[in-house]
Amino acid sequence: MGEVWKVTITDSLNRFLEKVLIFLPNLLAMITILVVGFLIAWIFKRLLFRFLKAIQFDRVSRQWGLADVLSKGGITYSPANLLSRFFYWVIVFVTLILGVNALEVAATQNLIAQVFNYLPHLFAAVLILVIGYLIAIFLGQATLIAAVNAQMESAKLLSRLVRWLLIIFSLTLALSQLGIAEKVITAAFSVIFGGIVLALAIAFGWGGRELAKEFLERLYKRNGKSDEKEDQISHI
């Protein structure tokens, strides 16, 4: 009986040791990947931050309104700092996945493959959202200034309209990139866009009679048919 116990325990220990011996290199590989990955992430963050500072990324971001958006969202990092941190965490994330993958645990293999397949879509969606938002802010501001200089009373409304249209448009593109209910999103966008155009048509023709009047008066004046006193001074 004692012999049986001894054999059983020895076999069990041997099997365990075998598994440990098989697993140990994988574990070491994971640790190596994690250490190197974290190191690369840290170096990359530092280099990217310096590069962004050198090309005055913060200044350009201020001009494009990104810094404003961040500060409104309670983010205290500068855009250069934020972007370098973002890439740091991206590399850390990839490192973690590679590390887990190195363990060669069957359950995680499939999941990791799926994550890697999905990553490009996720990046594209984030990029579309960020660029779309920046363009929306920029064009919204350009519209506001142009409308004020054209003496349109509804300058702010027009600017908001342009900004939100572009935000909705980029959101639709991002969601469709992620493959989330593509048909529903496209249909919803068409409905929203169509609705806005219809609302505009109604507002301009009925609710916004004053705006329409103002616009037509301006057009009329430009054609030189107005009785209003025109400026004759040369500005330059």
């Binding site: 201020r62 025109e230 400026d231 500005h235």
Partner: protein, 414 residues
Amino acid sequence: MEKSFQVQLEEIKAADILIGIPSYNNARTISHVVRAVIAGLAKYFPSARAVMVNSDGGSTDGTQDEVRRVQIEDFKTILTSHPVNPIQKIVTPYHGIPGKGSAFRTIFEAARALRAKACAVVDSDLRSITPEWMELLLGPVYEEGFDYVAPLYTRHKFDGTITNSIVYPLTRSLYGKRIRQPIGGDFGFSGKLAEFYLTKDVWETDVARFGIDVWMTTLTVAEGFKVCQSYLGAKIHDAKDPGSDLGPMFAQVVSSVYRLMEEYQSLWKGVRETHPVPTFGFRYEVGLEPVSVNVERMIGNFRLGVRDLTEIWRRVLLPETVGWLESIARLSEEAFFFPQELWVRLVYDFALAYSKGPVHREHLLKSMIPLYLGRVASFVKENQKSSADEVENEIESLCRAFEEMKPYLIERWA
């Protein structure tokens, strides 16, 4: 450079004097300008080899044909004798960004190719140009050794508001030379200076458009060329809607001034006082047609700006400056008053913002237009009954305000 233009220049080989006329759809007025140029050259520089270059932006109204057609058949009606050398005429389209600056670049290239000693440029929409302008713009360069001749005009007291409220006081305070019309549009310059202009890589910027005049003047002063001004008399343009291109014109001119401020910051920070420049020509009184100004509309535009653009201005101005603007916007039309001190502070703060970049540059400059209109409206209201001399004193006082507040700019710039 256009091939045929190059061939024509090679055929002419060399010239003593070169006159440039930039144009774009100016068929109504250009023949008068060309006639004045031909007569002026024949009268004052009869023995000089002179070339006239019309640098055209692709006119569709027959401007180029007008230039080719115009001749003075009988010089005896205006002169006692014929010129020794007939004036050569070249009509050529210019290349690059459409604008006055690109047209000037072609003229500079012609000056370099012909090794011209003295050059002048005149606007093609002038109604008041006379043959004497040629002597006044070219003479100081051709005979007195100056490099640059800025114009000096008699203008309506409310004319040239960008010049009077920004460009003249600002460039004077920055660079220390009292050049009254730094963006007058009609200049004389040496061939050497034309060649120097061509060494600069600015032809893709606002300098290629309306920014060219202030760029030429500033560069000349900042680089130490010999500068003077000539009194030309009245400046009367062809009538057009001045508001039609105020936005781009304002942005391009002010952008050029601010860009040059960045480039020459080490120079202007050291300039402490201003000096007059030598002035040629005989001053006389000129009768000018009254002009109408819609003050009400300008004030309306200013109020709209305060209502909708304050969010942008807050990124550029100090909180108390924004508060000041808001209090002005609340004034009634009768009581409306935009103080000099506030205006100077705004011009300096926007210059700073242009350089340091909290707002996109084009947005920044275009958002300044309602402020500019507010200041112009106040200026017109204050000087409704003033004589031309009184208005000139008012502009002089604004210049002094710019000079006195320069330490504020230097302090904030650093």
